[in-house]
C-alpha cells in the first residue's frame, strides 16, 4: 500500500527548505518531472486492480495538485521576495545635499538687461534694429537736426576718425537710416554702443550702451508717449512706475523732455538712490522734430511720432546695484560673472 500522506509530508518538508528558484526547479523535476516521484506513481495506475483504480487515481491526482499548488505558492513567494529585496536594497540618495555642478559661464550684465528690454518691446510691437558703432557725421548730427556749428555739438564731445567718420555719440544716429529703410508707420527700437570723449570716473564712461526707440504714425501724441513710457518702464522694473515729464532740450525732438520715474527702490518715498527726491531722471525723450522726419523721408504734415533714448549702462547699474560704471568695460571676470546667465 502506498502512503500518499507520507509522500506529501516528505515533499512539503523538502519544499520548506528550498531557498532558491533553481532548487525549486529541481524539486519540480523530482516530483512532477518526467521521471518524478508523482509521475512514476501515475505510471503505476495500469497495474492497480480495477476496483482500487478509482481511489488510487483520486489520491495521485490529489497529491499532484497539492504539490503543484505548493510549488506555485513558493514561486509567488520568491517573486515577491525578489521585489521586496530590490526595494530594501535600493540606496537612499540624499538630494538635500548641494550638488557641485554650477554654471561658471556668464553673460555680460548689459546682454542680460538688453535681452529683457528687447522682449518687452517685441511684445509691444516694436521691431529691433541694429545700428553701427561708427557713423557718418551726417547720420550722427545733421540728420538728427544738429547742423554744423550748432552748440549742441559741444554738449557731446565726439571721437572723430581720420576718415571723417565719428564713433556714434548716441543711438539717435541710426534714426535716419531706419526711417529711410522702413518709412512710416514705424515702431522700432535700436540698442547700441555709444562713445563720448569723456574722462572716466565712477559715473562716466567713454563707451556705454543706450537703447533708442521710435514710434511714428498719423496720430502718435505726447499723451501716447507718456503711456508707452510708463507701461514699458513698469515692465522693465517689474513694478508699477510713475513717470513725469520735464522740459529738456535735444535738437532732434520738439517738444523735448527729460523723463523722470518714481524711484523704484523706495516707490517715490525718498531714499539714497533718488537723493530723497522720490524721482530719478532716467531718459530723454520727445516728439520727433519735423526736420528729422523730413530728412528721414517722412512727411511731417502727415506723420508724427515720439523717440526716446534709454541708458542701458545706467539701467544695468541700477538693476545690479553696480556703483562703478567702469566695471562694465573692465573685463574683470570675477566681478562680471556675478550676473550669471539670466
Amino acid at each position: 500500500m502506498i502512503d500518499f500522506d507520507k509522500i506529501l509530508k516528505e515533499a512539503q518538508e523538502e519544499l520548506n527548505n528550498i531557498t532558491s528558484i533553481i532548487d525549486l526547479n529541481t524539486f519540480f523535476q523530482t516530483y512532477l518531472g518526467k521521471a518524478g516521484k508523482v509521475t512514476e506513481l501515475m505510471k503505476l495506475m495500469k497495474e492497480i486492480p480495477n476496483e482500487e483504480k478509482k481511489n488510487f487515481g483520486l489520491a495521485v491526482n490529489n497529491l499532484k495538485q497539492t504539490i503543484s499548488q505548493n510549488i506555485e505558492d513558493k514561486e509567488k513567494f520568491f517573486a515577491e521576495k525578489k521585489i521586496q529585496d530590490s526595494i530594501n536594497n535600493t540606496k537612499l540618495i540624499d538630494l538635500t545635499v548641494p550638488t557641485n555642478k554650477k554654471i561658471k559661464g556668464s553673460l555680460h550684465p548689459i546682454t542680460i538687461v538688453q535681452e529683457k528690454v528687447i522682449n518687452i518691446f517685441l511684445s509691444m510691437g516694436f521691431t529691433v534694429e541694429d545700428g553701427n558703432e561708427i557713423e557718418t557725421e551726417y547720420n550722427n548730427f545733421e540728420a538728427v537736426n544738429v547742423p554744423k556749428n550748432h552748440p549742441a555739438r559741444d554738449m557731446q564731445d565726439t571721437f572723430y576718425l581720420d576718415n571723417g567718420q565719428v564713433l556714434k555719440t548716441h543711438t539717435s544716429a541710426a534714426q535716419n537710416r531706419i526711417m529711410k529703410k522702413y518709412g512710416a508707420p514705424l515702431k522700432a527700437i535700436f540698442p547700441g554702443r555709444c562713445f563720448r570723449n569723456e574722462e572716466l570716473d565712477a559715473s562716466h564712461e567713454n563707451t556705454f550702451f543706450q537703447i533708442e526707440g521710435m514710434m511714428i504714425d498719423k496720430n502718435v501724441s505726447i499723451s501716447n508717449l507718456i503711456y508707452f513710457m510708463k507701461e514699458m518702464l513698469t515692465q522693465v522694473f517689474g513694478k508699477e512706475i510713475q513717470v513725469r515729464l520735464r522740459p529738456g532740450f535735444f535738437p532732434f525732438v520738439e517738444p523735448g523732455f527729460e523723463l523722470d520715474i518714481s524711484c523704484p527702490y523706495c516707490n517715490g518715498k525718498g531714499c539714497r538712490v533718488c537723493k530723497q527726491g522720490g524721482w530719478i531722471e532716467l531718459c530723454p525723450c520727445g516728439m520727433i522734430h519735423p526736420n528729422v522726419l523730413k530728412m528721414g523721408g517722412i512727411n511731417p504734415d502727415e506723420y508724427q511720432g515720439f523717440a526716446f533714448g534709454l541708458g542701458f549702462s545706467r539701467l544695468a547699474m541700477m538693476n545690479y546695484d553696480i556703483t562703478e560704471i567702469r566695471l562694465l568695460n573692465s573685463g574683470n571676470i570675477t566681478a562680471l560673472s556675478q550676473a550669471k546667465i539670466k
Binding site: 553673460l107 556749428n149 549742441a152 576718425l161 501724441s221 505726447i222 501716447n224 503711456y227 516728439m287 568695460n329
Partner: protein
C-alpha cells in the same frame, strides 16, 4: 546760471506766492533748477553803527579800540580791520548775534573787553572781501537791523546751464521773470530805461563795422562820472549771482548782462574815441584785461580804436582801454556778434567768459539798444552827476527776419493727444509775448517775439512745446494708441547673437566681457603684437590708444592678462565691432565679430584645442545650422603659432579662423601656458542661409552596422576622409560617423575607424548586399590611395 528772487521781484509782484512752488514749477515747465540757497537766513543781530572814536591798542600792531554809537548806546569794540576811522558807519554784530556758525559773545582781545564785532563783507556773506569792515553810506540811520539797509536776505536758485542751451532769452533775470510771469499769471513790469528822447548830445561816435560777423553795434558815451563803486546792494546781487564787484562802470555792464543777457563792455572814453569792428588779417598778440597776452589767430574778430585792437569781440576787453580809478568818462559797447564766430574764437583761445557763453547762444540783436539805455539809466541812478556825452550810434547790419507761424487747435490737439481750450492756448502764448496776428477759421497766426526768433522757435512743433510746458505736462492724460498692438518678430541676426552668447555661457562655461573698440597699446606691447588697423581716432583720450581694432583677439587677450592670476583656466568671448577695410567711398566696412579665447595655465594644447573645436561644432550644428569645415593652413598673422592654424569654412566662404597664440606672445602671459581661440565674421555668418531640418524616411527593415579602419597618412585630414566616406557608390541608405582615431607618434600612418549604418527602405538586406557595400567602401578609399587596416 544763478537767479536772485529779489531781482525777479523788481519785475514781478510775487506777494502771496510760495517761492518754492514757483521754483518747482520752473523746473517742471522751463529748465531744471539744480540748487536753492537761502542767503542771509543765518545772519541775525547785526545792526548799523557809527565809529565815533578810534584808539590804538597798546602792544598790538593791528588792533584798534573803538567807541561805536549804535544810536541807543556807545559800545567798546576791539577791531583788527585796517579801514576803521572816525565817522565810518559799519555793520556791528551785537553780543548774541549770529553770523552763520559763529555766535558773538563778549570777548577779550589783547586783554581788552569787546562788546561785539564790526563785520567784514565776508562775515555777513555779501562778498568774499576780508580786507576790512563794511563801509555804509554816512547818512545811514544807526541802530537799524542791517537787513533793512542791505538786501542780505535772498533766495538764489541755480539753473543747469545745459538746459538753457537753446534759450538765449533765459540768460538774464528779465527773461526768467517773463517765464515766471507766464507760470504765475502775474504781470511782467516794464524795464526802467533811459528815455531815448532825453539824449540830445550832438557828439557822434564814429563806428565802422567791417566784419560780417557783427550783426549790430550800439554805442554811446557818458562823462562826469565821479562815483567809483557801485552801491552795496548792486554788489550783493552781482556776488550772489556769481560775479565780483570791480568798479561802478564795469559793475553796471555785468549787472545789465545778468538782467538782460546782453553782454556789454565799458571802455575808458579818454582812450577810445572811435570804433572799428573787423576780422584780423594776421595773427596778433593782444593783452586782455586779465593781463594775459593772447595770441589771436588771423580771422578773429576784434574791436579797434584808431585801428589799435581794444577788445576781443564778444569775449573780453583789452587792458589798454580798461576802466581805471581815474576814469570819469566811458564809451559803452552794446553789440551783437555771430554765435559761431564767438564760440570758435573762444574755444581756440580756451577762454569761455560770461560774455562768450551768452553770445554763443545766438542773442537777440534787438536787445542792444535796450541794454544801452538800461545801462545809462542805472549809471545815472548810481551817480547823479553822470551825463550822456554823445548821440547813440547804432549800426544795425544783420536783422533776423520776423517769424510768423500759423497753427490750428486741431493740430495742437492731435500732437498733444488731449483737448486744450482755445482761450488757454491764446493766453499762454500771449503771456510769453507771442503776438496773435490773426485768428481766422480755427487757425491762429502768431508772430514769434524777437528774443525767441534767433534759432529757438521756427515751426508749429515749437509752439506746441510752449503751450504744453506752461499748460503742464502733468496735466496730459496718458493714453494708448488707437491701433491694436501686435507683437513683433525678432530679427534673426539679433536672435543668433543672443543665442550664441547664451550657449557659450551656459553650455561651455565661458564668460562674456566687453572691451573698447580701440587697441590697448600697452597690452599689445606687452604681448609683443602689432595687430593691423586701418583707421584711427584723431582725438582719442589716450593718444597711444587711437587705433580702431580690425580683430577682436587682442581685446580678449587683454582680458586673459587681467584675469590670469585668479584662474587656472579662462574662457572669454565678445561679439564686438571691428574694421578690416575701408570701402570705396572711404567709409568703414564695420563688421560684427565673434572672438573667443581659451587659456590654460599649463601646456594643455590638445585638450584646449579640442574643447575649442567642440564649442565650434556645437555652435554650427545646433545654433547656426550650417555645415562648417576646417582647412589647415599657415597663418599670415605673426602672433599666431605657425601650426594648428585652421580656416573656418562654409562652402567656399572663409568665415573665420582657429589659432594658437604664438609662443613669443603666450610666454609673456605665462610660461608654458596655452592660449587658443577663434574669430568668426558674425556679419557674414548671419547672412548665410542655414540648413533646414527635413525629416527623412526611416526604414522599417533592419540596419546593419559595419566598422572600417583605414590607414591614413599623417598629413591627411578628417575632412577629406569623411568626404570619401560619404560618397560611396551604392543605392543603399547609409550613415557614417567617426568611431575612433589611433595616432601613435612612432607610426608612419594613423588609423581612423569609421562606423557605417546601412539599410534599405524596401527590403531586408541580403548577405550579398552587405558584401557589395563593403567592397564599395574599400574601393572608394583605394581610389584615393588609402588602404584598409586588416
Amino acid at each position: 546760471m544763478k537767479v536772485s528772487i529779489n531781482w525777479i521781484k523788481d519785475f514781478i509782484d510775487l506777494n502771496g506766492i510760495n517761492i518754492e512752488e514757483v521754483i518747482s514749477k520752473f523746473t517742471m515747465s522751463v529748465a531744471e533748477v539744480e540748487t536753492i540757497e537761502y542767503k542771509g537766513k543765518d545772519i541775525s543781530g547785526v545792526i548799523t553803527a557809527k565809529i565815533i572814536d578810534v584808539e590804538d591798542v597798546p602792544n598790538s600792531k593791528k588792533l584798534h579800540l573803538l567807541k561805536v554809537d549804535t544810536g541807543s548806546e556807545i559800545l567798546q569794540i576791539v577791531c583788527g580791520a585796517p579801514n576803521v576811522r572816525k565817522g565810518l558807519v559799519t555793520a556791528l554784530a551785537n553780543i548774541g548775534a549770529k553770523l552763520g556758525e559763529i555766535k558773538i559773545s563778549k570777548a577779550k582781545l589783547a586783554g581788552i573787553e569787546s562788546f561785539g564785532m564790526c563785520c567784514g563783507g565776508d562775515e555777513i556773506g555779501i562778498n568774499d572781501d576780508h580786507s576790512g569792515i563794511v563801509e555804509l553810506h554816512e547818512d545811514t540811520p544807526l541802530g537799524v537791523d542791517i537787513k533793512q539797509i542791505l538786501d542780505i536776505e535772498d533766495i538764489i536758485f541755480e539753473i543747469d546751464n545745459k538746459s538753457l542751451t537753446n534759450r538765449p532769452d533765459l540768460w538774464g533775470h528779465y527773461g526768467i521773470a517773463r517765464e515766471i510771469s507766464a507760470l504765475t499769471g502775474r504781470r511782467l513790469k516794464p524795464l526802467l530805461i533811459e528815455n531815448i528822447d532825453n539824449i540830445n548830445s550832438q557828439n557822434e561816435i564814429e563806428v565802422k563795422v567791417l566784419s560780417k560777423f557783427c550783426n549790430r553795434y550800439t554805442t554811446a558815451s557818458m562823462e562826469n562820472i565821479t562815483t567809483k563803486n557801485s552801491s552795496l546792494n548792486m554788489q550783493i546781487r552781482l556776488f550772489y549771482c556769481g560775479m565780483r564787484a570791480i568798479n561802478l562802470l564795469a559793475d553796471v555792464t555785468n549787472y545789465v548782462m545778468l538782467e538782460l543777457g546782453q553782454p556789454m563792455h565799458a571802455f575808458d572814453n579818454n582812450l577810445v574815441k572811435n570804433i572799428q569792428v573787423y576780422d584780423i588779417k594776421e595773427d596778433t598778440c593782444f593783452k586782455t584785461l586779465d593781463s594775459i597776452d593772447r595770441n589771436l589767430q588771423k580771422g578773429s574778430m576784434i574791436i579797434a580804436s584808431n585801428n589799435t585792437p581794444i577788445a576781443l569781440a564778444g569775449i573780453m576787453g583789452g587792458e589798454n582801454s580798461e576802466i581805471t580809478n581815474a576814469t570819469t568818462s566811458v564809451l559803452i559797447e552794446s553789440a551783437n556778434f555771430d554765435a559761431y564766430k564767438v564760440r570758435t574764437t573762444a574755444t581756440k583761445l580756451g577762454m569761455r567768459t560770461e560774455a562768450s557763453a551768452r553770445y554763443e547762444k545766438s542773442l537777440d540783436p534787438e536787445l542792444t539798444l535796450t541794454a544801452l539805455l538800461r545801462y545809462i539809466y542805472l549809471i545815472k541812478e548810481q551817480d547823479k552827476g553822470a551825463k550822456i556825452s554823445s548821440k547813440i550810434t547804432d549800426s544795425y547790419i544783420n536783422k533776423y527776419p520776423q517769424i510768423e507761424i500759423s497753427i490750428s487747435k486741431e493740430y495742437i490737439d492731435k500732437y498733444v493727444g488731449i483737448d486744450i481750450k482755445e482761450a488757454t492756448i491764446l493766453s499762454i502764448l500771449q503771456n510769453l509775448e507771442f503776438k496773435l496776428l490773426e485768428n481766422k477759421n480755427g487757425i491762429f497766426k502768431f508772430a514769434v517775439p524777437s528774443f525767441r526768433a534767433t534759432k529757438d522757435i521756427n515751426g508749429k512743433a515749437d509752439l506746441v512745446e510752449e503751450i504744453t510746458r506752461i499748460y503742464g505736462y502733468d496735466n496730459i492724460t496718458p493714453k494708448s494708441i488707437e491701433q491694436p498692438v501686435k507683437p513683433a518678430l525678432l530679427d534673426n541676426a539679433i536672435k543668433l547673437e543672443y543665442d550664441t552668447k547664451l550657449t557659450l555661457a551656459e553650455r561651455f562655461d565661458l564668460n562674456e566681457t566687453h572691451s573698447y573698440i580701440w587697441y590697448d597699446l600697452a597690452c599689445n606691447n606687452l604681448l609683443n603684437i602689432n595687430p593691423t588697423s586701418v583707421i584711427r581716432c584723431v582725438n582719442s583720450i589716450n593718444k597711444e590708444n587711437d587705433k580702431i581694432r580690425s580683430t577682436m583677439i587682442p581685446s580678449l587677450l587683454k582680458v586673459i592678462i587681467d584675469n590670469k592670476n585668479h584662474f587656472n583656466e579662462i574662457g572669454t568671448f565678445e561679439i564686438g565691432r571691428v574694421v578690416k577695410n575701408l570701402k570705396e567711398d572711404n567709409l568703414v566696412d564695420e563688421r560684427k565679430s565673434l572672438g573667443l579665447v581659451l587659456y590654460n595655465k599649463d601646456n594643455e594644447l590638445e585638450k584646449t584645442l579640442l574643447k575649442l573645436k567642440e564649442i565650434l561644432n556645437y555652435l554650427f550644428e545646433y545654433i547656426y545650422k550650417l555645415d562648417m569645415f576646417l582647412i589647415l593652413t599657415e597663418p599670415n598673422i605673426s602672433y599666431y603659432h605657425p601650426k594648428n592654424y585652421y580656416k573656418i569654412m562654409i562652402n567656399e566662404n572663409e568665415i573665420g579662423d582657429i589659432f594658437t597664440l604664438h609662443i613669443n606672445s603666450s610666454e609673456k602671459i605665462k610660461e608654458n601656458c596655452t592660449v587658443v581661440g577663434f574669430e568668426i565674421d558674425f556679419s557674414k555668418l548671419v547672412n548665410i542661409k542655414c540648413n533646414e531640418v527635413k525629416f527623412e524616411k526611416i526604414s522599417k527593415y533592419p540596419t546593419t552596422k559595419l566598422d572600417f579602419s583605414f590607414l591614413i597618412p599623417k598629413n591627411c585630414l578628417y575632412k577629406d576622409i569623411i568626404g570619401y566616406a560619404k560618397t560611396i557608390n551604392t543605392n543603399l541608405n547609409y550613415k557614417v560617423s567617426l568611431l575612433d582615431i589611433y595616432d601613435n607618434e612612432n607610426d608612419e600612418l594613423k588609423t581612423y575607424t569609421l562606423h557605417y549604418e546601412v539599410n534599405s527602405l524596401e527590403r531586408t538586406l541580403t548577405s550579398q548586399d552587405i558584401e557589395n557595400f563593403h567592397t564599395a567602401v574599400i574601393n572608394k578609399f583605394k581610389e584615393n590611395d588609402i588602404e584598409i587596416k586588416l
